[in-house]
Amino acid sequence: MPGVEIRDLTIEYSSGGYAVRPIDEMSMSFADGELVLLLGASGCGKTTLLSTLASILRPTSGSIVVGDTEVTALRGEALAEYRRHTVGIVFQAFNLIPSLTARDNVVVALRGGGVARREARRRAEALLLQVDLGDRMQHRPGDLSGGQQQRVAIARAIALDPPLVVADEPTAHLDYIQVEGVLRLLRDLAQPGRVVVVSTHDERLLPLADRVVELTPRAAAETRPPESHSLAPGETLFRQGDAGDLVYVVDEGVVEIIRELAGGGEELLTTIDPPNYFGELAPMFGLRRAATARAAGSGASVTGYTLRDFRGQRRDADTATLLEGAADAVPD
């Protein structure tokens, strides 16, 4: 299993009529046997990336290659086959079928992969023993603790021995005692022949990882020289979905704040003229830009400051004031 290769991956979808681009031109690769941690705040695109790795979501552009399989090109039966045999998924909410026993939840995955009934039972029991649930095989999910359910879910995910396992916030619903067992299992899964990709915002998982991918945009260094930009008419300063690290003050001209709509349209939200500022929320909360900023017809000059420098420059600009200002008119 040579690993996973992500090339120029962009995922854009519509949310409330607006175009949202949580993953933008992402490229990276995961080596065989690695446990990769996708770290980031809610909404930064962790689950979106996992869904795309699992071929549940189709990217807007770019490609994902798992082993020799170009995942983004799969269709029909080949897609189902990939989901059955190449990727195992551990869901945040466990997602066990409530009417089935722990054993049967694993059996269903095996039967779906074409394993004969008796053999499926035997292997399901072996897998449940492996995740230390030998005495819970006949229990339904409702009779299991969160940690036990997640261990059943892991057994189900690896039932057909897939070369890629993706786990979405696997510890989100677990207390610290239950977390330990699940973490140990996930660590053990990452071995030659398999890549394990785990999304989380739980930094307790960091020591487990062979590699950490931060999906939350990092604000610029606390202090750095201001950046002056002279924008031609219609020139874009930043685009909706970009990482944002600076607050901009308009020195000259007018800047239009535009929301890109799903389907390619635009909506003018507001215009900013001197000496007003915009773009403060992205660096403040580690968010992506929620709108596009571009110079209006006559062009514009703007200066970008780090959040700290901006606050230093405007003594009144504490967080509450900035938020109030943002709520008044200026989207990020």
Binding site: I56, A93, A109, G112
Partner: protein, 348 residues
């Protein structure tokens, strides 16, 4: 596929049991209606066939002897006997009356010549031999030796037969034609039809021949609106059954939306998921059909109108139950098919 469906049936057994019981009642009602319809449809050819006629002679312009009171002298039968094309001809009187039993019951009256055409089969006792005697349908509840007050006559029951009914299950009293003439025509020697074996070569100008098929269709005309009503009610009942099973399966599909999303996300084919729902729906429908047979038999025993439950009724029931099950699963199947596998990634 069946593993998930079976376990789900057990897991949500309470609602499924309720659905099956209610559907069984609906199927049972449909089965009883079908039995009643078959009884109505069967009684007509049965009663006409009982006369063993090749043709019927009635007043010209009359559509059939059972539905129109149009009389002529009974001795026409004797004259017809002389016709070379006629092997036998017997006059009959076909009328309605009230049997004075407790409670009073409307009955059909058939007056015939003892030993002649129109002699009914008897299960117990014997046929009528002379005036003052009667053979009755078993649903009158009389036994051989009982007395039966019919109009001004007090008859002695000498025989009891089965399925001697027409006009929506009304029991029939067979008696000597002279008694029927006394009750109906004040003793005048009149007849409403002559039952003929063979075919007369010529008839008096005021009389005409009516075939058995015409007699049957004439009687069916009376029952046709009733049969149509039963058919409509049956269709409504099937729809109700589809509604009951469909709503349970749909409710189930709604609750299992996340399961479907997970199954799809892990590579289960749509046909596997939909097949599971269809199997579940079929199972409910067929179990309800099996139970409904018992319901129909038990309820049918208490009906004043004897329903005729035939093998064809049961075969039809199971055919329709399969159809009901499949149709009922469609709504849930649509839900399953439109479930987005990405839903599996949503939080709890």
């Amino acid at each position: 596929m069946w593993l998930i469906s079976r376990c789900d049936l057990v897991f949500r057994r309470r609602r499924f049991v309720i659905a099956v019981l209610v559907t069984a009642l609906v199927f049972g009602m449909a089965l009883i209606f079908d039995g009643v319809k078959r009884a109505v449809q069967n009684e007509v050819p049965r009663i006409v066939g009982l006369f063993d006629a090749d043709t019927w002679v009635v007043r010209k312009g009359v559509t059939g002897p059972f539905t129109t009171t149009a009389v002529f002298p009974a001795d026409v039968a004797s004259k017809l006997t002389d016709d070379p094309g006629v092997k036998r001809a017997d006059p009959v009187v076909l009328a309605r009356g009230v049997a004075r039993i407790d409670p009073d019951k409307d009955v059909n009256i058939v007056g015939y010549r003892p030993g002649g055409l129109g002699t009914p089969p008897v299960d117990t006792g014997r046929a009528v031999r002379h005036a003052g005697e009667a053979v009755v349908d078993e649903t009158l509840g009389l036994s051989v030796g009982d007395r039966l007050a019919l109009g001004s006559k007090n008859l002695r029951v000498v025989g009891v037969g089965d399925q001697l009914r027409y006009n929506f299950g009304a029991p029939t009293v067979f008696l000597d034609i002279s008694d029927a003439q006394l009750l109906t025509f004040d003793g005048q020697d009149l007849a409403m039809a002559v039952v003929v074996r063979g075919h007369p070569t010529r008839l008096p100008g005021n009389l005409a021949e009516v075939s058995n098929d015409r007699v049957i269709s004439d009687l069916n005309r009376i029952t046709k609106p009733g049969v149509q009503t039963i058919n409509m009610i049956s269709v409504l009942l099937w729809i109700v059954a589809i509604g009951i099973i469909g709503s349970i399966v749909y409710l189930n599909a709604l609750e299992r939306t996340r399961d479907f999303a997970v199954l799809k996300a892990t590579g289960s084919a749509n046909r596997v998921i939909v097949g599971g729902l269809a199997l579940q729906s079929l199972f409910l429908s067929i179990v309800a059909a099996v139970l409904s047979v018992g319901v129909a038999i038990v309820v049918g025993l208490g009906l004043p109108f004897p329903a005729e439950l035939e093998t064809a009724s049961f075969v039809q029931l199971f055919g329709i139950a399969i159809l009901v099950g499949l149709l009922a699963s469609l709504i849930g199947a649509r839900r399953a098919l439109t479930t987005d596998p990405a839903l599996a990634f949503a939080g709890a």
